[in-house]
Symmetry: C2
Subunit: 186 residues, 2 copies
């Protein structure tokens, strides 16, 4: 097999979910940012990590209120996600220009987004500086999914949820088919 | 909208790429593990992070040789990925039971997998312990994609690549359609 070098290494780690990170300032001002470099980290102490550029407004707000919600959109919200990812909260109050409804959270100050498939409420646990990014490790306080998208009472129905995936640049996608390994259950 | 609590918070951050992490011991013994909790971290200094349970054989090998390859399979490899993810390298030499071809890497000691869509060669930069996991931050030394899956000479052709995504448990998927936001280019 012949392989060629990629100009951007990270392309090979896409498609991946793109989430809306909601933060707020001490004065209550709310900001929304799009992020795809996010991952679960541990189960025993539920934790996630998200890469946030150090120069973003979101990063600044985390110094004021070290809490956030991670909101997971379906493919239907691709336009709002694109807008959230290309405008800075320093210049514009994104809650005013995005067609999204915000609701109070249970355990954190930043609100969550009603129009998403699901969301996580989280609190900053540790910040790891890596080059231009702060990798923000958070404790997950709560994780919810839209009740009509529950599968067997406790899982996400991924066939129906059509979770938005970021492919590259302006290209997004979502899954349609489920594939199972043929090897036996272990 | 009504939301219900998830039994496992991380379900809402799937589907996401599942990669084969290849490591090796000082004696050259090679191991393969499946991992989906992986993310790019920074661009200025190309870095990725991957969650590796502290009790795995892969984690032990990283103490011997702090280098790894991250191999990205297509949906065609779902059976091999499932096997790699359900057998421990402590018990079995997985290079013998998996239908995968290994080739020497350019910049690191662990080999990469010829049958994958692409791969990253990387070196451990920092290890962050979080509960039962070591979150391993790595410098990316090289990233390649199969030459026949290049798009415009430098990007991944994600329409053709059919990169394997982990949904939940035994459920996997891949993308078919590309969706673009309707809002104008910025």
């Amino acid at each position: 097999m012949t392989f060629s070098e990629l100009s951007n290494f990270y392309q090979i780690l896409h498609p991946r979910p793109v989430v809306l990170v909601v933060t707020c300032g001490r004065d209550g001002r709310v900001n929304v940012m799009a992020a795809s470099w996010v991952t679960p980290i541990a189960e025993d102490e539920p934790t996630i990590g998200v890469a946030i550029s150090r120069d973003t407004y979101t990063r600044k707000l985390l110094d004021e209120v070290p809490e956030l919600t991670i909101n997971v959109p379906s493919v239907d919200l691709v336009d709002e996600v694109w807008k959230a990812g290309t405008v800075s909260g320093r210049d514009v109050d994104k809650t005013k220009i995005l067609k999204l409804r915000f609701s109070s959270s249970e355990k954190v100050k930043p609100p969550h987004i009603e129009d998403c498939v699901g969301y996580i409420e989280a609190k900053v646990r540790q910040i790891i500086p890596v080059a231009e990014v702060d990798f923000v490790i958070c404790d997950v306080l709560l994780a919810k999914v839209r009740s009509d998208l529950l599968y067997k009472g406790q899982n996400v129905d991924h066939r129906k949820a059509r979770i938005l995936l970021h492919v590259a640049g302006r290209a997004f996608s979502y899954i349609r088919d489920i594939v199972y390994p043929k090897v036996s259950e272990r």
